[in-house]
């Protein structure tokens, strides 16, 4: 292995491991701000470090300190302590590892060698996700069972039954998608979606497989145990379901695992149905060939966006009553300075790129970075859909949930497979 190989290996694995972890903070923040937005209140706006609240992100830090310093209790009545401790670890690790097969950019070609932009450069693709999705059930079952608590067992039973039954429509929806793409490799699936339908519509999975996309998204919500399918932790009936006996960081693991799972399934949804890292209408080759023009466009657009963002900050980040020397206005001013500093740094980097190294390998790296940003933006939007649904739809009743899975989604996904296969066979 050359040094470049090792460097790229480390970078890819680091991306696959740290980006989901960073997104925990972003998603918890998004959940809170989203909840506040939908319920017409302010959300976290008090926790601060020297007056800097970072729009509520500091609240996460306070939560982390609270969770870590809390007493870690293993109740006396628990006989299988090993499984009790193992369960949150399984939930968290499985969610993290299942991101490993998701491509976050098109295959990077350096000196004629192709590097797949996945943490684990395997062509198993969606099979890897399915394999690990099955394991997530163990965490829930073991947590509920080893808690030795009626609420815990009931929550675990509900969650496990739900995850097992929704895996079927999910798998069938994936099958019909695979019939269209003709491959299980997620990088190839994303490359397929870079084509144009009739010359002007991006060939995204959601266009080719609208029904499959809806079924998959609904099943993914159920797999992640999120509202409206979070009966496993229905507070009013089960207190907190399978993690009722957990405290401190063991609860924290469940909590973080939920958000990592949400990020991972958003990433899978984006890759399967929303074009993955593809920027609509701009294939990788087009981007590489027009790298200079795109750089100039970026250099023009970034200050414009920064300007709008700074205006928006100045308008919103101020106290709602008269305060002498409003600290929030001062806060916003400092953020604005930081923002312009970042923009200036970016402009300098892009300018240096433009006059010195543009053309060749640097173009490809630039395109890869652009695609990573696109992928993360799409995934964040999909995560917002999760938050949106959570605070919009009420919880199902349990029999309604099972009916939806078995009597609606299952026949629909079977129908979808037949229709899709017929069309694919007729067109080929």
């Amino acid at each position: 292995m050359s040094q470049l190989d090792i460097l790229l290996l480390v970078l890819r694995v680091a991306f696959g491991a740290f980006v989901p972890l960073c997104f925990i903070a972003v998603l918890v923040w998004m959940e809170r701000r989203g909840a506040a937005f939908f319920q017409d209140r302010s959300g976290p706006n008090r926790a601060n470090i020297c007056g800097f609240r970072a729009g509520g992100l500091v609240q996460n830090l306070a939560d982390a300190v609270k969770l870590i310093t809390k007493e870690d209790i293993i109740p006396d009545h628990i006989k299988h302590k090993f499984y009790f401790v193992l369960a949150p670890v399984i939930v968290f690790c499985i969610a993290l590892v299942s991101f490993a097969a998701v491509p976050f950019a098109d295959a990077l070609i350096i000196n004629g060698k192709e590097y797949l932009m996945q943490a684990i450069p395997t062509d198993l693709g969606i099979l890897w996700f399915l394999a690990l999705a099955g394991f997530a059930v163990y965490g829930i079952i073991l947590a509920g069972w080893s808690s030795h608590n009626k609420y815990g067992v009931l929550g675990g039973l509900r969650a496990a039954a739900q995850v097992i039954s929704y895996e079927i429509p999910m798998g069938l929806a994936i099958i019909s998608a695979l019939v269209v793409y003709g491959t299980v490799n997620l990088t190839e699936i994303a490359q397929y979606q870079g084509q144009l339908l009739f010359g002007f519509i991006p060939m995204w999975g959601v266009v080719l497989q609208p029904l499959g996309a809806i079924i998959f998204i609904v099943a993914a919500f159920a797999e992640a145990n999120r509202t409206p399918f979070d009966l496993a932790e229905g507070e009013s009936e089960l207190v907190a379901g399978f993690h009722v006996e957990y405290s401190s960081m063991k609860f924290g693991m469940f909590f973080m695992g939920e958000y990592v799972a949400m990020f991972t399934s958003s990433a899978i949804i984006v890759t399967l149905y929303f074009g993955g890292y593809q920027i609509p209408w701009f294939s990788t080759e087009t981007l590489v060939n027009n790298a200079r023009a795109i750089t100039v466009l970026l250099m023009l657009l970034t200050p414009a966006f920064a300007w709008v963002f700074a205006l928006w900050m100045a308008k919103n980040n101020k106290s709602h009553y008269d305060r002498p020397n409003d600290p929030r206005v001062r806060e916003a001013q400092i953020y604005t300075k930081i923002l312009w500093g970042v923009v200036a740094a970016l402009e300098i980097v892009l300018f240096i790129y433009l006059i010195t190294v543009s053309g060749g390998v640097a173009d490809r790296i630039l395109v890869t970075l652009l695609q990573i940003v696109t992928f993360l933006v799409k995934t964040t939007l999909m995560c917002f859909v999760y938050v949106w649904v959570r605070w919009t739809l009420p919880r199902f009743r349990y029999d309604q949930l099972q009916k939806l899975g078995w009597q609606t989604l299952l026949p629909l996904s079977l129908l979808n497979i037949f229709v899709t296969s017929a069309i694919v066979v007729a067109l080929s």
Partner: protein
């Protein structure tokens, strides 16, 4: 060699898991140690570069079937008092060991007498999804379909058996 170390690790884990399945008294311990066996088998398949079988082993056996079994164990909520008294367990384990020992020795002898071959991974993405699929649907289509019909029959049978019990009540 790294691959040799992995092989030994997976093989030892697979055997230990199987031993645990037989020896553990609590069904949950047995089921979880069997999961260890299934996962290590998947690892062995991956070492043989059988990628598709690796994924299927994880999805079908370790993921679906075992989680169903663990689910049922949780559903039954077995207490230590519900388990049968096994006073003669040691006797059975020893007896079983004595019966199996000659077969094991025989197998070890066979493996030792194998001619030494340097093994290497076949090229052409052997064991990949596409390659196995092509093989199944080109050369082995009829056996493949017959097996799937067998599965369908057992599925229908299970549904009918489950339905019958409901109507007689």
């Amino acid at each position: 060699m790294f691959a040799d170390g992995l092989f030994i690790g997976f093989a030892v884990l697979a055997v230990l898991g199987a031993v645990g399945l037989v020896l553990f008294r609590h069904p949950m311990n047995g089921a979880m140690s069997f999961v260890v066996t299934l996962i290590s088998l998947a690892g062995l398949y991956a070492l043989l570069s059988a990628k598709l079988i690796f994924a299927l082993q994880l999805i079908v056996y370790a993921g679906a079937i075992m989680s169903l079994i663990v689910f049922i164990i949780m559903f039954l909520n077995i207490q230590p008092g519900d388990l049968p008294q096994e006073e003669t367990k040691l006797f059975y384990v020893l007896g079983g060991g004595i019966v199996v020992l000659p077969i094991g020795l025989f197998l070890a002898k066979i493996v030792k007498s194998l001619p030494e071959h340097s093994t290497e991974i076949l090229g052409n993405n052997f064991g990949g999804v596409k390659e196995v699929g092509l093989l199944l649907f080109r050369d082995w289509l009829i056996p493949f379909e017959i097996v799937s019909i067998l599965l369908l029959v057992s599925l229908v049978g299970a549904v009918i058996l489950a339905g019958k019990r409901g109507t007689t009540k």
